[in-house]
Amino acid sequence: MSVELSSPDLKTDEMIINMGPQHPATHGVLRLILTLDGEICKHVEPVLGHLHRAQEWQGQNRTWFQYQALIDRVDYLSGMYTSWAMARAAEQIDGLVVPKRAEYLRVILSEMNRITSHLLWLGTYLIDLGAMFGFPFYPFREREKLFDLFEEVAGQRMMFNYIRIGGVLRNPPFGWFDKLKRFTDEFPDRIDEYEAIVTENPIFLKRTKGVGILKKETAMAYGVTGPCIRASGIPLDLRKTKPYSVYPELDFKVQTMDGDGDTWARYMCRIREMRESNEIIRQAIEKIPGGTTEELRKLLGTTGPEKDESKDLDPSFLLMAKKQNAGLRVKAGEGFAAVESPRGTIGCYVISNGSDKAYRFKWRNPSFCNLSVLPELLVGAPIADIMAIFGSIDVILPDVDR
């Protein structure tokens, strides 16, 4: 939305102000140098790098095995996806076929991760818009439940290190699938609750409808991905457009929005995606080879998950196609692999020379690419809309700066 404030006898001067890096609404440490004409933004320059941790350098100077534990920190709200992108890149180079059960576990856990990531976005975005009345904590209620489930499987609540090159770390404990099923049963009602408060809320509509319009052409030129581009009407979702893992076996729709792709569309797209993810989890629980951990145990007639590697086992019940030890090596070659993270295409370009370290690591981060369109969106917007627009892109700064 652009607002014209002008009068022939009003003498105006442009003002440069600095927003961030400690601004509470910049989700970490982003600095924006704003050139303002009164209330209106004339020019924006994002200054990045306050959280630069040299992730690519570390990838080249640590062994594959060590680096696996680090990459969850690239995008700390969706660690499953960073692990998955790197694992896929290495598997492609190595020619590994990941066992089916492991693929299903990857899908289940990463869709859970998508929900937690969108829930955090929902809560903090409402804070960005000024809704300080307690709503932001409702999404965290569901998020905590999922984190408890993550903890039971991976041992960690956010930095999972669960998806490894060649498979996943371990089977979920007894009773875990039942808990997850119960969660998926009640979660749609919870989303209805959020929607009852937010979707039709007149204040929310006023702040978001027609604000921060992202046109299709602009989005494509800037390489925007994820909910941002789907809200602009382009059905780019790697789970469908470049199917990987077991997604072709699951039935789900790509959520796109008609219309201009304003802030409200991006909000709605994420809400729908959460419902879709919930459905994917539900289907994946039904279809997972070997069933729940209890059923698998009964099927195998053994008593421990360690028995997974016994000879008479159906290969699709295995969890790992590659031995996980400190000397983990990947064949020489190069490859690019990407997965659909909650923010968009997260990809990893790896060049391996066959040793225990990668020769070159390059991350393609969705936040980095989505953020580059921000100056385009902010020019002409009043200063009060800056955070509404910035928040709606769902940028996570460690993912921008790595």
Binding site: Q92, M220, L236, F336, I351, N353, R402
Partner: protein, 182 residues
Amino acid sequence: MTETPAPGNKPAEEPKELTAGPFGEFLREHGIASTRLPDSTGVETVLVEGKDLEAALKRLRNSQETELNYLVAVSGVEQADSFESVYHLWSYTNLKELVVKVRVAKSAVPEGKLPVVPSLANFWPAANWHERESYDLMGIRYSGHPYLRRILNPWDWEGHPLRRDYKQPVDSLNDKNPHSMR
């Protein structure tokens, strides 16, 4: 112990000439020379000359036949004897993908200068930040870039951290001087 392979992923002897793939053919039809490289895990990889880069990518992006309109990433790579700028091209509308590489031999880079590759940022905004990042970390100068400034490191940082010959400052957080006694 197995011996550590030499740096770089290049095989010891150059493999025999590869025949051009569909994209290589497409480029040749439009008068752009390209060399096919070994596939990057099943994806066609072509090497083009720096001077042809802009024409080649404009063709690949705008032609109805290819529609490679999604620039996924621009990566700077340092090989044993050259610098590479690698472009991963996908399509928003079809399943095609292509990897384009531009190589600058280290012997062709004058002492104290950076290797130069033409910039795409003027007609493809997606390349803008990727090229700044590659300049910052790998030290490839993209000629014609509208605002080639460091993006992840501080603006006054010295050196390019992903270079093989990069020397870290002693205390990179507080002091940029490598001879500092702190």
